[in-house]
C-alpha cells in the first residue's frame, strides 16, 4: 500500500466526518433548528471529495464547490466554518458568505462560487500567479458535471493549456444537475475527454473508490507542476436531492437504492478491514466522535450572534483603497 496506516485511517475519518456532518444537517433541518435552501449535500460522494482533497500537498490550494459542506468540515477550523454556514458573526468570514461563497485563503481554500463555472478561470489565474511567484503549489479546482457544460469551463481549460498554469480540474460527476440527468445535458460519456479539445490530458476514475481518486489526483498534481494541467473526472452518484428543503427527489428510487449498495464509505471500510486497520468497535467509535464534533460545531454556531449591521456595511470590506465617495 502506497499510504501509511495513519494516512489510510485519516482518510476514513474524514469521510465519516463529512457523512456525519451532512447527516446532522438533515436532522437539524427536520428539527427546525436550521433552515433549508443552501444545504447542497454530497452524501454518497465522499470518496470523490475526500480522495481529491487528500491528494493535495501542504502548498496546494483547493477551490471547492458549494456542494462541499462535509468536505470543508474536514479541512477548516470546524466551529468557525459551521458558524459561517449559519451566517453568524463568529464565522470565519463574519457571516457574509456562508457555504456558497466560502473561502479561507489562510487554510488554502480559494473562493467557492455561486456562479457555476466562474471559478474555473479564476483558478487558472491563481495557479498562474503561484507559478509567477515561483511557489511550489498547485490549484485543484473542483466542479460538478453540470458546470462543466459552462463556456467558462472550456475557456479555462484552454487558457490553462497555453499558460501552463499548475492546475488540476477535478470534475465530480454525480450524474445529475439539479434534477436533470447528465444524459439530458451532454452527449459526452467521459467528461475528462473534454481536455482533448484543448490539448490537455484527462482521466476518468471510479469516484466511489477513494484510493483510485487520490492516486489520479496526485498524478495530475505532478503533471501540473511540470506545466501540464489536466482533468480528473470522478464518477459517483448523488444520494440526496439537489438541496435540502429546496427540491424534491425526482429520480427513480432504484437509482438511489443501487447507489447506496455502492456506498463509498462501506467500500473503503472493507479495504481497511482487510488490512486489519478497522473493526466494528473502532468504526462505532469514529462515528460517535465525528457526530460529537459536528454537533458541537452547530451548537457553537447556534449560540453565536448574527453580525451587526455596522459589521456588514463596513466600506473597508468592500474597498481596500479608500478615497472619494465610495459609500
Amino acid at each position: 500500500m502506497k499510504y501509511s496506516n495513519k494516512e489510510l485511517l485519516s482518510m476514513y475519518e474524514k469521510m465519516v466526518l463529512s457523512r456525519v456532518y451532512e447527516e446532522s444537517v438533515i436532522e437539524l433541518l427536520a428539527q427546525g433548528k436550521i433552515q433549508g435552501g443552501a444545504w447542497h449535500l454530497a452524501i454518497g460522494e465522499e470518496a470523490a471529495q475526500v480522495g481529491c482533497l487528500s491528494a493535495l500537498g501542504p502548498n496546494d490550494f483547493i477551490e471547492p464547490t458549494f456542494r462541499c459542506h462535509g468536505l470543508l468540515a474536514t479541512k477548516m477550523e470546524i466551529n468557525k466554518y459551521t458558524a459561517e454556514c449559519l451566517c453568524k458573526g463568529t464565522g470565519n468570514l463574519g457571516g457574509k458568505s456562508s457555504i456558497v461563497h466560502i473561502s479561507s485563503i489562510e487554510e488554502k481554500i480559494l473562493p467557492a462560487n455561486g456562479i457555476l463555472g466562474a471559478g474555473m478561470p479564476i483558478g487558472v489565474g491563481y495557479a498562474w500567479a503561484l507559478k509567477k511567484a515561483k511557489k511550489d503549489g498547485v490549484v485543484v479546482a473542483m466542479t460538478g458535471d453540470g458546470a462543466s457544460n459552462e463556456g467558462n469551463f472550456y475557456e479555462a481549460i484552454n487558457l490553462a493549456g497555453i499558460t501552463e498554469a499548475p492546475i488540476v480540474f477535478f470534475i465530480e460527476n454525480n450524474g445529475i444537475g439539479f434534477t436533470n440527468p447528465i444524459s439530458n445535458a451532454t452527449k459526452a460519456e467521459d467528461l475528462s475527454a473534454k481536455g482533448v479539445a484543448v490539448g490537455i490530458p484527462g482521466v476518468t476514475v471510479d469516484g466511489n473508490d477513494i484510493l483510485a481518486v487520490r492516486e489520479a489526483v496526485e498524478a495530475a498534481i505532478e503533471k501540473a507542476k511540470d506545466g501540464m494541467p489536466s482533468i480528473v473526472e470522478a464518477k459517483t452518484v448523488r444520494i440526496r436531492p439537489h438541496a435540502e428543503g429546496l427540491s424534491a427527489e425526482t429520480r427513480d428510487p432504484k437509482i438511489i437504492e443501487e447507489a447506496k449498495k455502492n456506498d463509498p464509505i462501506k467500500r473503503y471500510e472493507k479495504v481497511l478491514k482487510d488490512l486489519d486497520l478497522l473493526n466494528d468497535d473502532k468504526i462505532s467509535e469514529i462515528y460517535g466522535n465525528m457526530k460529537d464534533i459536528s454537533l458541537a460545531s452547530f451548537e457553537y454556531g447556534f449560540s453565536s450572534p448574527y453580525p451587526s449591521r455596522e459589521a456588514l456595511c463596513d466600506i473597508n470590506l468592500v474597498y481596500k483603497t479608500l478615497g472619494g465617495d465610495l459609500a
Partner: protein
C-alpha cells in the same frame, strides 16, 4: 507644454507603471503584434517581453476571469478588452467576481485589477462596437469606474487605477483617443473622486462625460454668443463620484443638463440627476435636462449620427431651461 494624444498618454501610463513596479502585468488580445486594439500599448511588448505582457486567445470571459485570479494571487494585473461592447462576455468576471471578492473574503483578499476597454462612438462600427457601457456597471458595489475625456486625465487616472488595490473599470473613449492635449513630461497622477471644472460659468451647469465634454465646450461657445454662461463639469470618475463639486455648481447656477452618450433610458445621467435632486432640490430653478442617445441600437457607419447625441442636442437642452 508638450502635446500628445490620449492614446500616447495611455501608452506612457502603462510604460511608467510597468517600469515602476515589476509586479504590474498586462494581458489582452493582440498586444504583441498590434500594441493593443488601437495602439494603447504600442512598443511595450518589445520593452517588457512575454513575462510581463501576455497575448490572450479570443476568450473574454475566460481571460478576464483569469486576470481576476491573477490579481487575487497578488499580481497587479491590467487586462484589456478590445472594445467595451465585448465586456458583456466578461461581465460576470467583473461584476460577480472581481467586485465582490474583497467583501466575500471578509477583507482578507483584494483584487488589484484594471479592466481597460475603449467605448463610445468614433469608429462608425455600429451597434456592437460603439456603445458607452458605464451604466451596465455603475450598479455594482466593489467596482470603481474611470471615464477620462482627455489626454492629461487619461494618463493620470490610469496611473491611479494601476496603483489602486481594488478592481477598476477604466473606460477609454474612441472619439477622444486621437485627440491631443497638454501632458507634462514629469510624473503626476489624477486622484479618483475629483471632478474637474472644465469651463467656469454662471447660468447653467452641464455635467458631461467623455466626448460629451468636447461637445459641451462647443455648445458653450455658441451659447456664450447668446449671452448664456455655461459651467462644464467632467466627473472623471463615476465611482467614486465627486458630488460636492457638482452640488457647488448647481447651487450657483440652479440649472442642470446632464450629457451622457449612452441611450437615455437607464443611463447614468438618471443617477446623477437623482443625486442632484435629492441634495439640491431647493436650488433648482428648472427641471434637470438629460442629453443622451435615442433608445435605439446604434446603426452602422455614418448612420449613427441619427441616434447618438451631439452639440446641437446640448444647445437645445440648455435653451429649454434658461
Amino acid at each position: 507644454m508638450r502635446e500628445i494624444t490620449y492614446m500616447q498618454a495611455l501608452q506612457e501610463a502603462h510604460m511608467e507603471e510597468m517600469k515602476r513596479d515589476e509586479n504590474v502585468f498586462l494581458m489582452g488580445i493582440e498586444l504583441r503584434n498590434m500594441g493593443s486594439g488601437i495602439g494603447q500599448t504600442a512598443g511595450l511588448y518589445e520593452m517588457f517581453g512575454p513575462d510581463r505582457i501576455f497575448d490572450t486567445p479570443i476568450s473574454e470571459s475566460g481571460y478576464v476571469g483569469t486576470a481576476v485570479g491573477l490579481a487575487l494571487g497578488g499580481v497587479r494585473t491590467i487586462v484589456e478588452v478590445q472594445f467595451a461592447d465585448f465586456l458583456s462576455y466578461a461581465f460576470d468576471s467583473i461584476v460577480n467576481q472581481a467586485a465582490k471578492i474583497r467583501y466575500l473574503t471578509d477583507g482578507k483578499a483584494n483584487v488589484p485589477l484594471v479592466v481597460r476597454a475603449p467605448q463610445g462612438m468614433g469608429f462608425f462600427f455600429g451597434a456592437q462596437h460603439s456603445q458607452c457601457v458605464e451604466g451596465w456597471f455603475m450598479n455594482t458595489p466593489g467596482l470603481k469606474i474611470a471615464i477620462p475625456s482627455n489626454a492629461y486625465d487619461a494618463k493620470g487616472l490610469l496611473k491611479t487605477a494601476i496603483r489602486d488595490d481594488d478592481p477598476v473599470l477604466f473606460l477609454e473613449h474612441k472619439a477622444c483617443i486621437f485627440m491631443k492635449g497638454e501632458v507634462p513630461e514629469e510624473e503626476y497622477t489624477v486622484p479618483f473622486g475629483q471632478a474637474k471644472i472644465v469651463r467656469p460659468g454662471t447660468d447653467v451647469t452641464i455635467v458631461a462625460m467623455q466626448k460629451m465634454v468636447w461637445d459641451s465646450l462647443e455648445a458653450a461657445e455658441e451659447l456664450q454668443k447668446e449671452g448664456i454662461s455655461v459651467e462644464i463639469i467632467d466627473p472623471r470618475t463615476l465611482v467614486p463620484l465627486d458630488k460636492e463639486t457638482i452640488f457647488n455648481s448647481v447651487r450657483k447656477t440652479g440649472r442642470v443638463v446632464v450629457a451622457n452618450e449612452a441611450p437615455k433610458r437607464g443611463s447614468i445621467s438618471g443617477e446623477i440627476s437623482a443625486i442632484i435632486t435629492e441634495n439640491c432640490f431647493k436650488d433648482l430653478k428648472a427641471p434637470i435636462k438629460r442629453v443622451g442617445a435615442a433608445n435605439i441600437p446604434i446603426p452602422f457607419g455614418a448612420n449613427e449620427a441619427h441616434v447618438l447625441p451631439n452639440k446641437n442636442d446640448i444647445v437645445a437642452a440648455v435653451k429649454a431651461i434658461v
